[in-house]
């Protein structure tokens, strides 16, 4: 349509309403011993792109892992040689600190960008991130912002990363003392959950990730909660079969939520998967990240369940069962930091600021039934803290 030049009301040009639909597809695989030569999973994931090979793969590895897998770098190199027709490592894998330290050092993002530039990765190359959730978040942010997004294959190595953060669509680093202040929404190219890495975890890290499984069970799936509840002893004695099922179902519930929420990139204010997380984020900060994320989430779940109970939303027997399950799993449900109500409650406004828009908290109106509220009664929350402390 070319407007008639003689028509003079050209300042009334009609607005154009633009709709951009984007579809992201990725596979979440489950395996053991990913880098054994006879395991073709990684090579298959790259072959599936249908493009000319071999592809450049920049590997970035969590330093924490190398203590337990000292041969990992050697294995990776051998793997890349064995599958040389599919992939090539242009440089030695980059090693970055594990845990929250990965997200607190802004230089790391820059170093990864520098390496991406040096080895000449393009948008069809791959970055292979191997590590815990914090390392995946850091690498994901660096990958998403170079060339407007280089393909990211995540290999989560902790329970928490395999069943929650590692399968989702977010990345981020901390800045200005705020968790995930910098980050983007960027679905991965693929996720490969290798259960063998779970044997490297300390009891603390093994346990920590179960908190996110409990969280998603509590808001979405009562039978999954029953499964965790009835297998908590097996989880404590590190039964791998049970853990694999917990991870699989938890990842599945997270993925279903992301796919079906209608708001995968969180443009609204509703965020049910953040149940228990407002206090968790604040407690992580107040303890200088000496708490694991999952440990903080366990306390957040306990607190928000207790508040749900005091509000009359949640039945007393269900509330007790939630606290009992958390305790049997070995989680601590109270910290001295909770006693400073004012500081803790700052977490509510920080949570609102990070999510954006109206304050939206998920509470429980039953096991498996999350419910959203937009107002909080701070004095009742204070009672919930006291009640939790006296349990």
């Amino acid at each position: 349509m070319i407007l008639d030049i003689r028509q003079k009301q050209t300042f009334n040009l009609k607005p154009i309403y633009q709709r951009v639909a984007v579809s992201f597809n990725y596979e979440v695989c489950f395996t053991h011993n990913l880098f054994e030569l006879k395991n073709p999973t990684l090579a298959q994931v790259i072959t599936a792109d249908g493009e000319r090979k071999p592809k450049k793969v920049l590997a970035i590895v969590d330093a924490g892992l190398l203590t337990f897998c000292p041969d990992l770098i050697k294995q990776l190199t051998a793997y890349s040689k064995f599958y040389a027709e599919v992939l090539t490592l242009p440089i030695e894998p980059i090693i970055v600190p594990g845990g929250e330290a990965a997200k607190n050092d802004p230089n790391l993002v820059e170093q990864i960008h520098q390496q991406i530039e040096t080895v000449g990765l393009c948008r069809h190359s791959y970055i292979l991130a191997i590590g815990g959730g914090a390392v995946l978040d850091l690498v994901g942010y660096a990958a998403a912002t170079a060339h407007r997004g280089i393909r990211l294959i995540r290999v989560p190595t902790t329970v928490l990363a395999q069943n929650d953060s590692g399968v989702g669509v977010k990345n981020g680093i901390n800045a200005y003392g705020k968790k995930n202040f910098l980050g983007t929404f960027a679905p991965p190219y693929a996720v490969i959950n290798d259960f063998s890495f779970l044997t490297t975890l300390s009891d603390r890290d093994w346990r920590s990730g179960i908190a996110e499984a409990l969280k998603v069970a509590l808001i979405k799936d009562a039978s999954f909660f029953d499964f965790i509840h009835s297998h908590s002893a097996a989880l404590v004695r590190r039964d791998m079969d049970v853990m694999q099922q917990v991870i699989y179902r938890c990842a599945q519930l997270h993925l279903e939520h992301i796919a079906n929420s209608g708001d995968a990139f969180e443009m609204g204010s509703s965020r049910p998967l953040d149940f228990g997380h407002w206090a968790a984020h604040k407690l992580e900060h107040l303890t200088n990240y000496s708490l694991r994320h999952g440990e903080a989430v366990a306390i957040g779940i306990a607190l928000d369940s207790t508040y749900s109970y005091l509000l009359g939303l949640l039945d007393g027997s269900e509330w007790r069962q939630i606290l009992h399950t958390l305790s049997v799993l070995g989680f601590t449900l109270y910290l001295p930091e909770l006693a400073d109500f004012q500081k803790v409650f700052e977490g509510l406004s920080e949570f609102q600021e990070h999510l954006g828009g109206e304050l939206t908290l998920t509470l429980l109106e039953g096991v498996g039934k999350g419910v959203e509220v937009h107002e909080v009664d701070l004095s009742l929350y204070g009672e919930a803290i006291l009640l939790l402390g006296s349990e």
Copy 2:
């Protein structure tokens, strides 16, 4: 589904295929005198979110604009007071350098992030970016990476930004000497094209933006090319009505392409809107950005049209008409930098690296008919350069 715990082949847990569909919607408005109190466009765009008001708006202004609109900051403040129920400016507008300098200083992104943090913007707050394409690219990148994306309202003030970069889904800054090395795909919340700003442009900047209109006409719409061709004298004498129609149609063609290409976030290698851009990017770099982007695109169009002609794809009379139109509009079609073939042709591999995957160039098989090729004949390209130089 909870797997049976007795089943032992748990390492055969099936892959989960995840599909995340995300829909972005935004309005591209056209107006005059945006910040006059009687113009409600901006307030309406913010009111349309249906959320509790007033909303925080962080304004970021292109310094280049203030020379010509010295009252802009005062106007903005008055506007925010007049529409105080809808929006509030938490701090004075931030002023950033205009032109490519905006994209070459990494500190600017950090400064904007710092201000976002200081004034406590959330994901439902607004960043109002007013300026040329480079400033919009910079601010867009900072907005997209804070809290995983703060709503961005773009007010493009140049022809180029109003008809091309400002209406699209990209942002970015330069790094390691590479154009747009850092950036993301992030559709804006809204775009408001205020034609009044075009009166502030130098003849060079007025002309420069027409190159992108010619580009999209050449690959998609022969009648639009005819319109530009037959109105080139009017464009040279700065006829605002004609320019408005050129901008409107060009923006419309860009938006249609983005919406209907099936690859808005450029995960494949096809990039028809980058016709003429491989050489343009390289020439901008080789001239230390003394060339405007549009001026470089004009040379890129001339070169790739000439190569299309030499390849036998494009008819000689059409080729001459393209060069003639560019010349009448006032574009220079040859630069001494082109004589160093080797350096110029480095632009091809850099272009491939930035786009990712297979080399994909758009050429012309007729006016209004782009065609993609995956191979180039460098000696023929050299002839094209010589032919262009002799014209």
